[in-house]
Amino acid sequence: METRVQIVAIVATGALFLVLLELVRRRRLLERYAILWLVCSVALLGLSVWKGLLNDLAHAVGIFYAPSALFVIAFAFVLVLLLHFSVAVSRLADQNKVLAQRVALLEEQQRAAAKAAPGRFRQPEDEGELREREPAATSPGGYE
């Protein structure tokens, strides 16, 4: 593998690794989701540093130009990550549904309680929650 390609690969994957660490440190990325990313960046970094391994790997699967093996591996990781996110989104959608249903049930309970003992509970009607959610009329001022 040509040295320039190797340097670019090392810099890019090294930068990715550092960005990931920083995101986790600042708690912008949950460890749960960071693990897969870290594994991915470490593997790519390892392959770009360790030339022989990449060459052997490329040779074993019949790829003539070793750095393109790096792309194949990176692409595989991207696919796995996307799948991972689809799973995560599905889970969030499920949780979201359960929460919305719970909110609706609680709101109804509260409305019933408020009806049974007026004054002891905040009436949801008081805050205009039962008004239709109409789009707001065009504001006179605007942001000009």
């Binding site: 749960r32 799973v87 039962l130």
Partner: protein, 252 residues
Amino acid sequence: MISERACLAVVPAYNEAATIGGVIDSLREHAPAFDVVVIDDGSTDATCREGLNRGARVLRHPFNLGIGGAVQSGFKFALENGYDYLVQVDADGQHDPCEIPKLVDAMEEHPDVDVICGSRFLADLRYVGPVSRRAGIHLFAFILSRIVRQKITDPTSGFRLYNRRAISLFARDYPHDYPEVEAVLVLHYHRLRMREVSVRMFQRGGGRSSIRSGKSVYYMIKVLLAIFVGLVRAKPVVEPGDEAPVVASHGI
């Protein structure tokens, strides 16, 4: 009609302010034993206010969840408030509350049956609808009848009466987008029994079907996929004591 049981009519509604009042009034008149709960599935019109004004209880979703989520809220409500029977009635006036006593009678007559489904096609009552929709319904009916080894004529009908067992099953797990067809499968996998009764249905009085023409192809594919995935799914529904269906993490 035995009225000592606690009965609940669930009316899922998404922007049905025009017709919901009539449906509630009709329920009061023809099925007085039933308490009415409207599931306002994130409507942007006066659906919620109409429901409250007519004296129904209203569960109001903070945003639109789709028909599956709406009906499931009804099951949860029925479970938590100890209802024995739940009937689902569409807010667009398609289902005729006059037919509810017929469903209840069928349930009382067959104590081993958990769900009574109102069917448009059981007797030839000349349901007129778009040809494509009728063709789709008959295709689903054919496939489902083979799978559950029982004749199903109207798998997309939402006009159903559920007993306590079915309520607690569906409060735990009810299909998402177009749930009626899949619900038949879920019942089958849990050894719950369903029976059809012939009913009359109206053309919808207003609003729009959750299945619009442009989406009907998507609907067909999605439901067929759901049917075949359901066939191979190892464990369709979580039983009490199992791991929760929605947990913080399944590992990576």
